[in-house]
Amino acid sequence: MATPLQTPLQTHSTMTSEALVAVIFLPLLGACAAVMPGRFPARLGIVAGLLPLPGLLVAVTLAVWHDGPAWLELGGWAAPLGIRLFVDPLAVLMLWMVAIIGGIAAAHAWFDFPPGTGTGQKFWPLWLLLISAMNALFLSADLFNLYVCLELVTLTAIPLIALAGSKTAIRASMRYLLLALLASLLYLLGVALLYNATGTLDLYLVSDGLGAAPPMVVTTALALISLGLLLKGAVFPLHIWLPQAHASAPGPVSAVLSALVVKTAIYLLYRLWLWSVPATVAAEGALTLLAVLGAGALLYGGVLALLQERLKLVIAYSTVAQLGYLLLILPMASSSAWPIAWQGGTYQLLSHGLAKAAMFLAAANILHGLGSDRLSDLQRLDQRQPLSLFALAMAGVSIMGLPPSGGFLAKWLLLEATWRSGQWWLLAVLVAGSLLAAAYVFRILAATLRRDDPTEARPAAETRSIPAAQTACALLLALLALAAGFAAAPLLEFIEAGTPGTWSSP
Amino acid sequence: MMDWVLSATALVLLLNLGVGMIRVYRGPTPADRMLAALLFGTTTVAVLLVLADWVGLPALRDVALLFVMLAAIISVAFAGLPTTDEEER
């Protein structure tokens, strides 16, 4: 049923293959370089590992744009014997997000973790490995390889959280680690069953065998894999580890965690349910169930975000909520509005990533400048850190789904899809979710404009200055989130080309 | 016949292990537990050697060899542990 399986496939020119491989291996080797002592290897590793990524992705994007999705067989072994990489518009989109958000967050981190010295020595190898792991994950077409990638993402992300060093951070890391390991095991158990039911580990060949396998086996396997991914992706009600972990991590790490790392699990859920599961498996109910969880996330996360007293916790709970949007589109997979829903979902993926990363970077600047991120301490932020506030507000506009922003276009598409497919409950959830988002974003903004002390006795010097470049990083991401509200048409066309095959209703 | 003898031997050795398990479980002193655990290593080696023939995998003798070596490490690791009140019980 999936598009890529029905179209004749080709491996693109070697140039593209090399670009794909480089996207994974440059940061990986960069990490190796950053392990070595001294400033130079670290800087070399960072620059060589991150800077070429956009250029490589241009080549990959053009190739996918012109010739469609492509495989790359590693070692020259065809699936199911070997492992292959698969690149399609969705994967390209994710790679771009890693390159842009990972790159900008890295620029932000450069100042807090100077390469090659002190904490920088600990930070950069992990960071580069994380980037490499996410790129590998988005490209991998093999269920077991994805398990390894998931573990690599987990085992690089958690130490990065722990680098914050606070008691809360260590505690959150510990809990995240235990639950992430549990999630991986559930995933692995499901994969074990799938392999024995189908004889293959290839994400896109599994579907061939699933029809013949006993339904009970398929159900159990898919349920276990999904459960694991829902836990890794912090989907309500399995989100319990996320808020503290994301809120207590160092700023750039929070940005990447919320914008990219949790998305890896959602991405795999998409791959599993929209590519691997064939139409013969009655998946309608499962997709609706996932959407119900998404709706729960949207509402619960929104309400909880509204109750938090610390800025970073508000943003973290906002992540819990916003992930819900990504699951809401699933029940529309069998409707005629699916291409619109797909565009809306993926555009939400993109704009939330940009906006959320901007918010976390801005929050890091604020925390660093003010020494606190309690909402009650944010008074007169417009005087003290106007640019960080500006970034926060711009990103907030996108999170709320108000124009002009990428978030607005995503919300429009989602609304249109729900309307066209007649899924009224989804429509209601979308509306409620966006109103909740508006409530918590404006709550932050209100806290920053408040002036309990009208005489302005507070000296301006209490604000610690932060490097202009760090402010610029947050601003840049926020502006990108806004720009996503203008330059959508070609991007959406590209996304639409990769819409997973539309189902025929059983 | 040979097969029967081998498998019976393996079973006896395994049951032997089970008795050892009881000692590890019951204690009462850490020394009891440690000795039982060391006995374990030895018996495991024996089981592996029997299995090598019964299952028909000579490579299992390598495994047995490995266990012999590791037994030394585990015993040092045990010996290095402090005795706590709980274990003196």
Binding site: D382, Q383, P386, F390, V397, L402, P403, P404, F408, L409, K411, W412, L413, L415, E416, W419, R420, L427, V431, S434, L435, A438, F442, L445, A446, L449, R450, R451, P454, E456, G485, F486, A488, A489, L492, E493, E496 | -
Partner: protein, 498 residues
């Protein structure tokens, strides 16, 4: 997509946006540069609008198109209705800016204030020149975003409470609007909505869907236009500084809602279609109810600005009433009130601001005898009040005359009754104020007080007040000559109306 001459509406928006960005960037301290920048921006914008006005008179067309989503473009264009609203808001921006410079002298956070003020005006220009409902919605929401910091500007708990209420209403309204838009989009497919009669071909069989869309859109616009029962945010927002009130009531926000209703009836549905679906009656009744209700509540208010606010609730609905009544004359009455109400109400708010700044007066009963202490302001206030009541030949009269005459031609004589009742109520809540100002003695303690204004500030506050008062006077007295608002509206309706 071209950024040249054709894209003039975009450039007019950008003038305000750039002004806003520069003001933000300048920071709090550079007061003189900011003032200069502000005035330059306002003047440049006014100039560009005048050029565009002349060009349109000469038959030029303007269009800027940027594809945002497949089948949905950001479209800016300029028709006569655009020009009516754009000219009004640009002119009042200039005036209000001058007034605000004087009003906010020495108060904190001026950079923020003027920055968001400029953004509001940019959004208003976007609303005016939106070429389709999608674009309209974008700028409409932008307007919400840009006005919120102004509403909460004072930073007090009351200000934030008002801000919360404002957001609750406008964002909920935005959601209704959005849903209506999505619905309309799925019905009518791709394309621009503001094409007269474009919905007629699909009307058959979709009557109820179109009714649903109309109601949703009407409620969405109704929030900002303060239609009953969606009005209660407006009086609460009175905690904001006087220039903000002027902005909310006259320049941008309420007007954007009313303008949306005009676009909805005139352009999106077309009067014929809306009337045939029974929708104009609905709107007319809601508007009539709002007119009466607002006036009655205004009567009860003791706070001057709150009384003015309820007056706005009432008066803005004249616009909707005129458009919904449908005949040419009534439409003229409604549209001309867009301008007349703006000029008159801004006069009144400036005066209220002057009283508050000079003597700290907020209540109606404190106004006794102020005519002798603040003659200029008081004369302006009186002119505004009389204009609101509709005393001939002032601006309000022009509106009411056309509305009444139009209602008769449209066969809706009940509108006359509404007008009469409203006029009596207007008189009932305005005349006592006028009477207090001129015919009550000044209290003893007031006689000893001096006003708190310096010379320069007084000039900065009085000049704009006089200017808008004269303009509103002119809108009534000189309604017959070419160039007057009535002149424009008649041409507009003559060419484009139903």
């Amino acid at each position: 997509m071209s950024f040249g001459w054709q894209a003039l509406p975009l450039h007019i928006i950008l003038v305000s946006v750039v002004t806003a960005i520069l003001i933000f960037a300048l920071g709090e301290q550079r007061q003189h540069t900011r003032t200069l920048l502000n005035l330059a921006g306002a003047l440049l914008k006014l100039l560009l609008i005048l050029i565009m006005l002349l060009a349109i008179q000469a038959g030029a067309t303007f269009e800027f198109r940027l594809p945002l989503l497949p089948g949905l473009d950001l479209l800016l264009h300029a028709d006569r209705l655009t020009m009516l609203f754009a000219t009004l808001s640009a002119l009042l921006w200039l005036v209000t800016t001058v007034y605000a410079i004087g009003y906010l002298e020495q108060s904190p956070n001026r950079a923020r204030f003027f920055g968001f003020f400029s953004l509001c005006v940019a959004a208003t220009m976007g609303v005016a020149s939106a070429g389709n409902l999608f674009t309209f919605f974008i700028f409409y929401e932008l307007l919400t975003l840009a006005t919120w910091p102004l509403v909460v500007h004072r930073g007090t708990p009351e200000a934030f409470a008002a801000g919360r209420l404002y957001l609750a209403y406008t964002l909920a309204g935005g959601v209704l609007l959005l849903i209506g838009l999505v619905w309309l989009h799925t019905l009518a497919g791709a394309g621009d909505f503001i094409i007269d009669g474009s919905l007629a071909p699909i009307a058959a069989g979709n009557e109820n869907a179109l009714r649903g869309v109309f109601v949703l859109l009407m409620l969405g616009f109704g929030v900002k236009a303060a239609l009953l029962p969606l009005h209660s945010w407006l009086p609460r927002a009175m905690v904001a500084p006087a220039p903000v009130s002027a902005l909310l009531h006259a320049v941008a926000v309420v007007k954007a809602g009313a303008f949306g209703l005009v676009r909805l009836v005139q352009d999106v549905f077309g009067f014929e279609l809306a009337a045939s679906l029974g929708l104009t009656d609905l709107l007319a009744w809601m508007a009539a109810a709002t007119i009466i209700y607002g006036s009655v509540l205004a009567l009860k208010q003791n706070d001057l600005k709150r009384r003015l606010a309820y007056s706005t609730v009432s008066q803005v609905s004249y616009i909707a009433l005129g458009v919904a009544t449908g005949s040419v004359l009534a439409t003229v009455g409604g549209l001309v009130h867009l301008v007349n109400q703006g000029l008159t109400k801004i006069t009144l708010f400036f005066c209220a601001g002057n009283y508050a700044e000079a003597y700290g007066i907020h209540k109606v009963e404190e106004l006794d005898g102020l005519g002798e202490r603040m003659p200029v302001t008081s004369v302006c206030f009186t002119l505004g009040a009389l204009g609101m009541i509709g005393v001939p030949p002032l601006a309000g009269f022009i509106t009411k005359w056309h509305l009444g005459a139009g209602a008769i031609t449209a066969g809706a004589p009940w509108v006359i009754a509404v007008l009469v009742a409203s006029t009596l109520l207007n008189a009932a809540y305005f005349l006592p104020i006028v009477q207090r100002i001129w015919f009550r003695p000044l209290p003893e303690e007031m006689a000893q007080r001096h006003d708190r204004l310096g010379r320069i500030r007084r000039a900065a506050l009085i000049t704009p007040t006089v200017f808008v008062a004269v303009a509103s006077l002119g809108a009534g007295l000189l309604a017959g000559i070419p160039g007057s608002p009535l002149f424009w509206v008649v041409r507009l309706v003559g060419v484009e109306g139903p």
